[in-house]
Symmetry: C2
Subunit: 416 residues, 2 copies
């Protein structure tokens, strides 16, 4: 069988399994999650052995030390995988909620009820924890999943997926509620993107390149995630002490993630005072600044070019721009924002509302770090990613966002 036929078959199996999973009870799903968690712990040695092969291959292929670290699984991290799964079991079941109910003048009762999306495809890179995280979130939300992880983690992923598939059968669900694509060639990803009719939604998790490739090539609806070119704007009415803490936190608490800030924008009236204070704090982490002419007149720094405004550094680097007004800040963000998280620091609530209303992003903050854009921080529990698109889901994608709905209409013979 070629990869095309293999993927079609996986799609068919996912659809068949979905017929069972979509109507499974909360108890059945939670039992399956507990079985998965137990099986992951029981399989620790097996997982570590497979992971060692991935690490060895990575070393031989010149994988960076930081990527090797992300890939590595030890007993503690495997406990973490299992805990992630049991945490999902504690979350509220999103399926079958009555979202609205109306009785029409003709007597028809129309109930809008949440139902699973169906079959979810997840395309991701080298992090084997996504394998169990995504599987658990999909299972709890009543969706079957086709996982397509990167080749760097394929040995770890195969073992984890195999353990999970056995565990769900123990719990009385079909093994095909979780499937892993064994082929890690580009072809298998492309085939998955073309599985319209079998896959209801595709969620890419990874860098900008992966996400753009999926958006461009997929005929399956996509939930676009993760690219965050986030800005912190310090208004003329800002509390400078808050500005320093927020900018520092947004930039440096974890620079490699999508909700980290990449550009600092300062109102000209407070630019000098704020920039000097922020620089002093950022020096603790050796943050490099890249500025426009006005910023460079205040402090010595590299010059910022188009690429500095447009791209994520994901590093201890920050672009700096000075503007004449909040409107100019909004215009700059409008041009370069990826629609993830944007922040204004100001004590003027009128200016704050203007900014929050005009900025088109999943999360707009006044006086708080962009780093809060996260399912856990929002109180959603676990998330499968941060959506930067406007259709269906925006911001953290938790269990409720992994739902569609249907209308159930009750009549007693009505005709039109």
């Amino acid at each position: 069988m070629g990869i095309h036929e293999i993927m079609i078959e996986m799609g068919q199996k996912a659809k068949e399994a979905e017929r069972v999973l979509s109507v499974a009870t909360t108890e059945e799903k939670n039992k399956a999650l507990q079985c998965i968690a137990d099986a992951i712990i029981a399989g620790t040695d097996e997982i570590i052995k497979a992971n060692a092969i991935d690490i060895e291959n990575g070393k031989n292929n010149g994988m960076s030390v930081s990527l090797q670290d992300r890939l590595k699984l030890d007993a503690d991290r495997i406990k973490g995988l299992a805990k992630g799964v049991t945490d999902v079991a504690t979350l509220e079941d999103p399926v079958g909620r009555i979202l609205s109910e109306t009785t029409r003048p003709n007597g028809l009762v129309i109930k809008k009820v949440s139902v699973p999306l169906g079959v979810i495809g997840v395309i991701y890179e080298a992090r084997p924890n996504v394998t169990s995280d995504a599987a658990a979130l999909c299972l709890k939300s009543g969706n079957t999943v086709i996982l397509r992880g990167g080749k760097e983690a394929i040995n770890s992923n195969k073992v984890i997926a195999s353990i999970m598939r056995k565990a769900v059968v123990e719990a009385g669900l079909p093994e095909d509620v979780i499937q892993l694509v064994q082929d890690t060639s580009r072809d298998s990803a492309n085939e998955l993107m073309q599985l319209s009719g079998y896959v209801d939604v595709l969620i890419p998790r990874g860098g900008a390149g992966l996400i753009q490739a999926v958006v461009k090539n997929s005929t399956v609806p996509v939930i676009e995630t993760g690219v965050g070119n986030c800005h912190v704007y310090i208004d003329k009415d800002a509390d400078i002490a808050k500005a320093v803490e927020i900018a520092f936190n947004a930039k440096t608490s974890r620079p490699s993630v999508c909700n980290a800030a990449e550009t600092l924008i300062l109102h000209k009236d407070i630019a000098k005072e704020a920039l000097v204070a922020i620089k002093a704090k950022m020096d603790e982490k050796n943050v490099q600044f890249y500025g426009d002419d006005r910023a460079r007149n205040i402090l010595d720094m590299e010059v910022a070019g188009e690429s500095d405004w447009a791209n994520e550094y994901l590093d201890y680097k920050m672009a700096v721009k000075i503007v004449d007004s909040v409107e100019d800040a909004i215009a700059h963000i409008y041009k370069y924002s990826t629609g993830h998280s944007e922040c204004i620091v100001t004590e003027n609530m009128e200016t704050a509302e203007l900014f929050m209303n005009r900025i088109d992003a999943a999360a707009v903050y006044v006086n708080a770090s962009t780093r809060f854009t996260d399912g856990g921080e929002f109180g959603f529990g676990a998330e499968i990613g941060i959506s930067t698109q406007k259709m269906h889901a925006r911001g953290p994608v938790g269990l409720p966002e992994l739902q569609s709905f249907k209308y159930k209409i009750y009549g007693d013979g009505q005709i039109r």
Copy 2:
């Protein structure tokens, strides 16, 4: 400028206009809708003149009489267009609704607020009424629109669009909140489907061929609409009198639309009684039946093949299948449903719930005609189409479905 550059420029203009429209007040938008309606009435002669050219071209190109009828605009129909626009003005503004509000333990206040999707592309065929309907719905929901109608109606569409653009300027909004693609070649549609970054959502309105082409070729997220291979299942516990009325209404009240029924499924225990009674009623409209072997043993009819089960007739024709159980009915529908509207006729509420829970469609009915799947019938007011996909919108797409949301987060210096 080639069509690629023209479309990019339209995308840019739509995005720019969106910055104004997305924050326009309800009053501003309603004023613009009133101006449009008045201008359409005032432009009656001009519209009729342009429409006459389209009709003439249609005749010369051998357009069918029924299609000519759909295309034709007279003074009464133009009044109807204007009324459609003022009706939209009376609907509740969906923008800026607070969908949820929570205060986190760290004091952050998180408000989830509805916002427009942004720029909506609408690709449609020969019906010029879509031009004003879609424009009005998009405007009221704060979305700018790029309309790409079929070449059959291009002269009518150009005049209607031009009238609407002047009217919105009178009302103080930018003319580019409504744009019409002047080029009706396939290239312009393909370019529109590739305008990721400018167009947020694409809505195709038309036949199955158009919709599949858009789903396959678009890199912009699509709301798939309209194909309805709908089934009416008559259960063994059905009230036969209700079954007759519902089947007759679902099939014959308007066979050309997506919520019309295409296949009749009968439980074997009541098959003979029900089929004979339904046939007697259907004879009033000369409905042709195409059946499986068991149906043909009851009544003389043509044999049904794969294409009868799989496709919409959109005509006074109906496929007939006899099954052993509700599970078999569900299995048949699972195989052939397009996820639009499905119906069970039964007095047994347990069977009804089984059917409604297991069937994966936008609307599932017990004891009512599938013809009720409609924005007006659901109490939504006007709709831009019926979504048959599971992401974002399912069923009638009204003003609330033309919204995204953003999170507005209020802090006083919180960092993570």
